[in-house]
């Protein structure tokens, strides 16, 4: 008999006296094996994947809501809820037919009118959807299973838009829910995906529970990322939010949880030593580190100042600050697109390669007219990735002879302050740090950070006619070769004008108990195919 049994016995005796014999429900080993306990990357604070676009919401939503198409591991859109599609000869009319037998979690069939309402709500919030709306002539249900999207001009990337995995995904909801204003949160979580959301068990900030949807009919093809047969092998998936990485690591070692989405690099060696735990790269598409310079104000309104920083920065310094000494976790990135994907390019990337030239950088900075004014550098201390990058940047700028105004704050403050277009001394800023999921940086379609259309661009508001021209070229490309050429030119133009500063490409681990099997690498945690033994 071990001490824990003794303690249980003693407490049980005391408990009987105090509670009049309240008994704990005994979970059998089998029941335990049917529940997968997962520690997500962040708290699921809301659950409307169109209203809120955080990755964690997208990841949970992918279990509950299905999409018409799904991107697969080859980055190709595949049919998911759709049985077939037709395009008119002029490329302007798309006619889609739904698979038979699709059902929502409330038992109602999935109809074309549900799809029309869902796509309308999605398009109002999604960057690609917002490109479709101006060229849309009509989006209508033809019959219960058929709907038609008529455009004023062809949109060749239509299937990619409907399949893409970056938020917001085009999740299909019942019409009554999808008619909610896209800027207001839905309150019913009824999908047609492989799992149902147990709203009654939801404790925002602590726990979210998903139950297997018995009426879900998976596709026959093998599952591949968001495409194929989504076979759920467990009865329940419990998301247990743990803000403290050390606690998550201990809970995984102790067998209190089964799968931890993103263990921090510092704790990975401990997990690797545990014979009951598997550790592997979670998302092969990784992340791209970044800092953005404000193109509206001095000194970074002058491209020479921006280039000076690029000439001097060491991506290795940034990456080691984020991932430590594990060389398997990072690589230098002389460009903006995700390494290992078809459009990856290093064209124009020389400025980020080779020995760092501080003398030339200082000279260029002086030529830009920099005269020692403070450079307001926003750093979110509560996000390890931004904190690490901010420390490296502060050191870099000081070495360049710049006067750094290091604003250490939290992500909430950075998030709002970076939107200010006022001068840095009046509540604005010169630099802030972030990172982008590699899955979002595969093509220009989903890559908000690469856009350089001035006022309409992402924070920092870069203007680069060259880069913008190539974004259009990519959208109009008719073959993969044309797409590659356009993205190569885009990469060069964006580096020449320093749309933003890439600090390197990094991967993160995922860790799970060895009695769990079927975990696949991908841009989000996929729960289909994952099983657990007792």
């Amino acid at each position: 008999m071990d001490r824990r049994t003794v303690l249980k016995g003693l407490a049980g005796a005391g408990g009987l006296a105090l509670t009049g014999g309240l008994a704990a429900p005994a979970l059998s080993q089998g029941a335990s094996a049917r529940t997968l306990r997962f520690v997500p990357q962040a708290n699921l604070a809301n659950f409307d994947p169109i209203w809120g676009t955080q990755y964690v919401v997208r990841n949970a939503a992918a279990m509950v809501w299905d999409t018409l198409y799904g991107i697969d591991a080859q980055l190709q859109p595949q049919r998911q809820m759709v049985e077939s599609e037709e395009t008119s000869d002029d490329g302007k009319t798309w006619t889609f037919k739904l698979r038979p037998g699709l059902k929502f979690h409330d038992g109602e069939p999935v109809l074309a009118k549900d799809v029309v309402a869902s796509l309308s709500r999605w398009a109002a919030r999604d960057p690609m959807g917002l490109m479709i709306i101006p060229i849309q002539q009509e989006l209508t249900a033809v019959d219960d299973r058929t709907f038609k999207w008529v455009l004023k001009q062809p949109f060749p990337k239509m299937l990619y838009a409907l399949a893409k995995n970056n938020a917001p995904c085009s999740f299909i909801m019942p019409e009554r829910i999808a008619k909610t204003d896209p800027f207001k949160q839905i309150t019913e979580y009824v999908g047609s995906g492989p799992m149902k959301f147990a709203k009654g068990e939801w404790v925002p900030g602590a726990k979210a529970v998903f139950e297997k949807f018995a009426d879900y009919v998976p596709r026959q093809e093998k599952a591949s990322w968001l495409a194929g047969g989504k076979q759920i092998m467990v009865d329940r998936v419990e998301w247990i939010v743990m803000p403290d990485p050390a606690t998550a690591a201990a809970a995984l070692q102790n067998g209190e949880v089964d799968w931890w989405e993103n263990p921090i690099a510092d704790l990975v060696p401990v997990l690797k030593k545990n014979k009951n735990i598997s550790v592997d790269i979670g998302d092969p598409l990784g992340n791209i580190g970044s800092f953005r310079m404000n193109h509206l104000f001095a000194p970074f309104n002058d491209v020479r100042a921006r280039r000076a920083v690029l000439m001097a920065l060491s991506q290795e310094d940034y990456m080691r600050a984020i991932v430590g000494d594990d060389d398997a976790l990072w690589k230098s990135l002389p460009g903006f697109f995700t390494p290992g994907t078809p459009l990856y390019s290093e064209m124009g990337g020389e400025i980020l390669k080779g020995k760092r030239d501080f003398d030339a950088a200082k000279k260029l900075l002086a030529e830009s007219g920099y005269a020692g004014q403070p450079v307001t550098c926003l750093v979110a201390q509560d996000q390890p990735i931004t904190k690490a990058q901010g420390d490296v940047t502060a050191d870099l700028l000081k070495k360049l002879g710049m006067n750094v105004d290091f604003v250490a704050t939290d992500w909430g403050t950075v998030g709002s302050r970076r939107a200010a277009k006022t001068p840095p001394g009046q509540g604005g800023w010169n630099m802030f740090h972030s990172w982008h999921a590699g899955a979002d940086c595969i093509t220009p379609a989903s890559y908000t950070a690469i856009r350089a259309n001035g006022d309409k661009a992402w924070f920092g508001w870069p203007t680069s006619a060259g880069a913008e021209k190539e974004v259009v070229s990519w959208f109009e490309a008719k073959s993969l070769d044309e797409e590659k050429a356009a993205v190569g030119r885009l990469n060069k133009a964006a580096l020449d004008d320093v749309v933003y500063a890439p600090t390197g490409f990094f991967l993160t681990y995922t860790a799970w108990r060895k009695n769990v099997s079927g975990i696949t690498k991908g841009p989000l945690p996929f729960f289909w195919g994952v099983s657990k033994s007792a």
Partner: protein
């Protein structure tokens, strides 16, 4: 006494109103914008503005404050910006774990700290006294999270006696409820035990030098009777005071403890709400905590009259 309690309760209303105004103003001027957090990184400024409008965050300060006060007066703490759930329901969900943790910690403190303080005073200057006070200094100096990690490492990972994290409601069984709270309560209780033990020792030392104790000894009363019947009762006022004040420490410490042990209590809810700028939730929790403080103070005052009949209001 009843009229005193009523007067005190009425007096809490302006205090809570001032606290409410202060908290609301503080949040209004603090940097950070929940609409930005909600909209996510891909959102345009127009999207953020529309979300801000839909949440009513673009309205003037006085309008927002007035609307909030009006709802409070009608017993409505509002709706969370992020979860779209009533704040009262969210607080209700989290109250159980925090109350359980505080209750166990308080119990642990009284059971451990008071006897330790009494013994230390009884053996003042001896090795036992020095050892107890040494532990008190140690407990007082260690941050809650350090103690928490140490306990989790030893008792959960190495010995596998107790779980690392989580909370099970009492309705699911006494042991499942208790086993999740033992380590957090010890971690949270360390500072508290140290504080109460030191105060108990000091108060007891003062009382033990009084003439009536000498008289009790001269009359042949046993040591236990002297310590626990005569001395402790007369030393109780400062002890009760520090236990009451310590509840403030417990609430602060619970924020850290609940994070370290992944307990879904009010402490974690507070931190999450602050980081996301979920204003209605922050305001609701602050109001609740203010009310708890006022209530605890009131209870302490009432207990004074019970332990020391000379105190009258």
């Amino acid at each position: 006494m009843l009229s005193y309690i009523l007067r005190r309760i009425v007096a809490t209303l302006p205090v809570m109103a001032i606290v409410a105004l202060f908290v609301f103003s503080l949040l209004y001027i603090a940097p950070g914008d929940p609409a930005v957090v909600i909209a996510g990184d891909q959102a345009s400024p127009e999207d953020v503005e529309r979300i801000r409008q839909s949440l009513g965050l673009d309205r003037p300060f006085l309008v927002q404050f007035g609307s909030w006060v009006w709802r409070i007066l009608h017993g409505d703490l509002g709706t969370s910006i992020f979860t779209n759930l009533p704040v009262s329901a969210m607080i209700g969900q989290r109250l159980g774990p925090t109350l359980s943790l505080m209750m166990i910690t308080l119990l642990l403190t009284i059971v451990v700290a008071v006897p330790l303080g009494v013994v230390a005073a009884w053996k003042a200057g001896s090795l036992i006294d020095r050892v107890i006070m040494g532990f008190a200094v140690f407990g007082f100096s260690l941050p809650v999270f350090v103690v928490g990690y140490m306990l989790a490492y030893i008792f959960a990972l190495e010995l596998e006696w107790l779980p690392v994290q989580g909370y099970t409601p009492l309705a699911q069984g006494f042991w499942p409820w208790l086993e999740n709270l033992i380590l957090p309560a010890i971690a949270l209780g360390c500072v508290y035990i140290a504080l109460v033990a030191r105060i108990t020792r000091a108060a007891m030392l003062e009382v033990l030098q009084q003439d009536y104790i000498r008289t009790a000894r001269a009359k042949g009363l046993g040591q236990g009777g002297i310590l626990f019947i005569h001395a402790l009762k007369n030393a109780a006022v400062p002890i009760v005071t520090v236990i009451g004040i310590g509840i403030a420490l417990l609430i602060g410490g619970a924020v850290v403890t609940e994070s370290v042990f992944a307990i879904p209590g009010l402490g974690r809810l507070t931190i999450d709400a602050i980081l996301r700028r979920d204003y209605p939730v922050i305001q609701g929790i602050v109001l609740l905590f203010s009310f708890v403080y006022v209530l605890v103070n009131l209870m302490i005052d009432v207990i004074y009259t019970l332990v020391d009949p000379r105190i009258r209001y």
